[in-house]
Symmetry: C2
Subunit: 206 residues, 2 copies
DNA sequence: TATTCTTTCTATAAATCTATAGAATTCTCG
DNA sequence: CGAGAATTCTATAGATTTATAGAAAGAATA
């Protein structure tokens, strides 16, 4: 109840969250055992319950850890005073860098969060929505500034940015040798051009 | 050894693959039990082993079922005699339609295949590579035809198409009310424009 | 009907996994 | 040092899971 914890507790708790993230990322929530997590920490299986009430709680903490600061960064970008293009670049950079830095927890959030009970998913869903809505706002600014065509579906655009970043994020996680900056650049090019005002529509579908 | 099976066997086997796909898609490979699969088929847990040697073999069959005809369709498109733009549209249509039709097996292939042992993943990996390479070939044609800029990284482009389609595929699976044709159209627009020859580069990064 | 082949069932062995309880150890600080 | 708090360990109950063996039921055929 009283919220105070030892320094060592806090450190070990963080260590536990990282170990759980690592194991969940590798084996999935159900494929990972509490023994696996404990071993990665260097303690015994039973001792893990000093830091987590249950395996599921561990998953909840990992998911939250994976997404929270990444959403905050997005808020920051959205509120900042930059032109649309710069905001999009910053978003993609932030998204992909998050993957490379704390790749495992973010991956776990994306792949395993649906195994959490409904109540626990609510907070995550709110964070996710906040992220998407901020991104939609950026695209609306892009339309207003004339950089993007009026007919653009901002929801589609935001969702597509997230999809492209997550998909490349996965690839980055699997292959740490890839040139992050190169991918950021190419993703930004793709998305900027993909939604930009066009001179002439190429296809005409009745 | 002798390869012949009853009609009923073949039907039930297919039924079993679909049940497994459904359960794996919902709970993940490790989260799903053989009891779950059997129940979805309407038989008892032990009887499942009349159709699969092991749970893992079931996963292997589901993954293969999920990807095989979808790759064949891609071969067909790549070999066909259409301009680049039509091939890209056909690819995206095929990819997203696959998701809507046999969504579960394809989802399982994408999300759970890494839990297969290395040997079993080899065949899947070959199919996946064939898919990506065909797509890269289509982009090369696009460059040759002048529709795409020379500097385009075809590997990046193909991987991005796959990423966008998988990401929207997941969303489509989760929400069957979405307008498939609308999403196909918008994805095609995004990817066509994203890789198209531009008049003037917007950003200049040293 | 009797025979044989196919399909499903029941029961269970063996392994694993989560979570808890209480003992043992280590740390902190007067 | 010594008391109390914090941390980790051991051991285990209880539930679940995969896979197998052999009996039972159903279908096909002569």
């Amino acid at each position: 109840m009283s919220g105070t914890h030892t320094d060592k507790y806090q450190q070990q708790h963080h260590h536990a969250v990282c170990a759980a993230a690592s194991v969940f990322a590798e084996k999935g929530f159900h494929g990972a055992s509490t023994k696996d997590i404990a071993e990665r920490m260097g303690i015994k299986q039973g001792s893990l319950y000093y830091y987590f009430k249950s395996k599921e709680e561990a998953l909840g903490e990992v998911c939250l850890f994976g997404i929270e600061d990444y959403v905050q960064r997005m808020d920051h970008i959205a509120k900042s005073d930059q032109p649309f293009e710069a905001k999009l670049l910053a978003t993609i950079t932030s998204h992909l860098s998050s993957y490379r830095e704390k790749n495992e927890a973010l991956k776990v959030h994306n792949d395993e969060r649906l195994y959490l009970p409904k109540e626990k998913r609510t907070k995550l869903k709110q964070l996710g929505s906040r992220y998407r809505e901020s991104l939609e706002g950026i695209f609306e600014e892009g339309i207003d500034s004339g950089a993007l065509r009026n007919s653009l579906d901002c929801h589609f655009a935001a969702q597509s940015v997230i999809g492209v970043c997550n998909s490349w994020g996965d690839i980055i996680v699997r292959d740490p040798n890839l040139d992050l900056f190169d991918i950021i650049q190419k993703c930004t090019d793709l998305l900027l051009n993909g939604f930009r005002e066009r001179r002439k529509s190429a296809r005409s579908t009745t």
